[in-house]
Amino acid sequence: MQGYLIFVGKRLLQLFAVVFFGVSATFLVTHLSPVSPVEASLGRMTARSNFSPEAIVAMREALTDMYGVNEPLLVQYWNFWVRLLQGDLGPSLIAFPTPAMDLVMRALPWTVGLLVTSTLITWIVGNILGGLAGYYQNSKFLKAFGIVAIGIQPIPYYIVAFILLIIFGFVWPVLPISGGFSMTVTPGWNWNFIASVLTHAILPATSLVLVGFGGWFLGMRALVSNVVTEDYVTYAELAGVNRNTIVGGYVIRNALVPQLTALAMTLGGVFSGTIITEQVFNYPGLGSLMIDAVGGGDYSLVLAVATVSVTAVALAIFIVDLMYPLLDPRVRAE
């Protein structure tokens, strides 16, 4: 047990280091970007109105002061960490003075809800089908299926999304195509709301699953091709073990560990959202928030999204690493 704790401790250190370096890298990247948050805000405020040049100069000074962007980079970096350690990511600049974290937290449940669900479905479907296809290499049906899966995968996402939009939004308008929930329900733990959220998620989720599962399918099929030739699979076949059991418990199960790692990383990655889904289906989320933030030079917001994302990824990998011995009983903790 003690050895394991040491292992956990070491791994935890690595986790912190990853978060530290990842966040620092993002800090550097965003602060080196020449997009000026002051100009972006100024542009938004003065667009289409006739501000006099003097007024604009005055505003620019005021904003520069307010955002604290005239301080040296090192000072900003130091302040950033000081604040971050207090759980404060500072005010968003494109939405000054709203705390950046508030904006993130508002978008987070949607993105995470949609993406986690669809990623999980994608992963499960892709792996099961990939496992089957890798095992029954001569099955006509699975071959055809594989071709369909591989055929859908390279279709650009927004085309798939658009087709869904046309089919279920227009030709046969049975599903909502915009937003996270209907305007006529009250958010909260009531059935109407939950049902609305679910129906609104169907199309975005389906589109994500459709284009996403091919990747897992390919991966699993490849991993399985190493496993099917193992003696224990042959032996189980010879013993007439139920085919489903062989596929599930022998073949897929043995190929699963790498896919789980990849899943963890992907799940960690959902914290950066999907821009196109959010646009096509008007779905609230982190993707377009990130784009807005980058476009508006909003360091705080980029960093808030990045910090969440970096932490999530690092944590996901950390957890999978800890679970490794569970997933593969043969593994020795080093």
């Binding site: 050895g3 394991y4 800890l322 679970m323 011995p325 009983p329 020795r332 903790a333």
Partner: protein, 306 residues
């Protein structure tokens, strides 16, 4: 007298498991012996399944770091992390035959690659003909030929064929020390004899020392100079092969000898084991004891309580 190989108080402990249960396995405990450089010998290791024979062999080969103790080959520490040149130098002197022939070859690769690479590297030649000749010679020694082996994948060979290929490969560099882990477990009696005879002639004619790990007491008796008997990671008896096997002293050694099946009463179906012997042999498990030198040159592990 210089030593070829010096195994000094070597132990190996493995840690297994993860989140909840963690198990420590003492695969080898305090093993010591040495081989002399002047007097090549066949040194046999016999023992229970899982008694640490393979682990010991791996440590000698520098594939596993001992948890305690050290192993010296020609006075140099066997070190897994030594530089590549040093390791190569070591490998040209010490070659292994791995235990499970089905595992010892990459199923995706043709068998001849291993032979070819060995020949190229340790005979320091890149002349195709020379390499082929070396490979064929080695294969002929174990009853195969390059023609039969060339172009084949491991799954296209029988267990015995694979095992012979593995031996042939190890012979190519003409190493002064061969570590053979159950090299004949999968070949028929006749071939087994020819391979065992081969080991013998390697020793007698070429001065090759062999560490011979086996379950076959008969061949051990037949060719080896000295042997050790292992039980649960511990050496329980060590000494001249014939002395020990003719008259084993430790309870486990005796059980071992008694368990050897004989063809004398073929068809009689006698498979019983003396339960007393079994109990005695198991009684020593888990106890440290001490290795005591006997007058006839052997060492035996004795226990205070017994």
């Amino acid at each position: 007298m210089t030593t070829l190989l010096d195994v000094r108080d070597v132990s190996k402990r493995f840690t297994m498991g993860g989140l909840f249960g963690r198990k420590q396995v003492d695969a080898v405990m305090d093993a010591s012996f040495s081989l002399s450089a002047e007097k090549p010998e066949i040194f046999t290791i016999i023992g229970e399944s899982g008694s640490g024979k393979t682990t010991l062999a791996r440590m000698i080969l520098g594939l596993e770091d001992p948890s305690r103790g050290e192993i010296l080959f020609r006075g140099q520490k066997v070190d897994r992390h030594a530089g590549r040149a040093k390791r190569l130098e070591f490998m040209s002197n010490v070659q292994p035959v791995f235990q499970n022939p089905f595992e010892a070859f990459n199923p995706l690769k043709k068998i001849e690659r291993y032979l070819e690479s060995t020949a190229r590297r340790f005979l320091h030649t890149s002349d195709k003909a020379a390499i082929d000749r070396a490979m064929d010679e080695a294969l002929q020694k174990v009853g195969l030929s390059l023609r039969e082996v060339r172009g084949r994948f491991p799954h296209e060979m029988s267990g015995g064929q694979l095992q012979r290929c593995a031996i042939a490969r190890a012979l190519i560099p003409n190493p002064p020390l061969l570590v053979a882990d159950e090299p004949v477990s999968m070949v028929d009696a006749s071939l087994r004899m020819s391979i065992v005879n081969l080991l013998k002639s390697l020793r007698d004619d070429l001065g090759v020392s062999v560490i011979y790990i086996t379950h076959d007491l008969a061949t051990a008796y037949y060719i080896s100079n000295r042997l050790i008997i292992m039980q649960r990671g511990r050496i329980v008896e060590m000494g001249d092969a014939r002395t020990v096997l003719d008259n084993p002293e430790h309870a486990y050694s005796r059980l071992l000898k008694a368990s050897v099946l004989s063809t004398d009463d073929a068809g009689a179906g006698k498979l019983g084991t003396d339960p007393d012997m079994l109990r005695l042999a198991n009684g020593s498990v888990g106890q440290a004891g001490r290795l005591i030198d006997r007058a006839d040159g052997r060492s035996v592990r004795v226990y205070e309580s017994v």
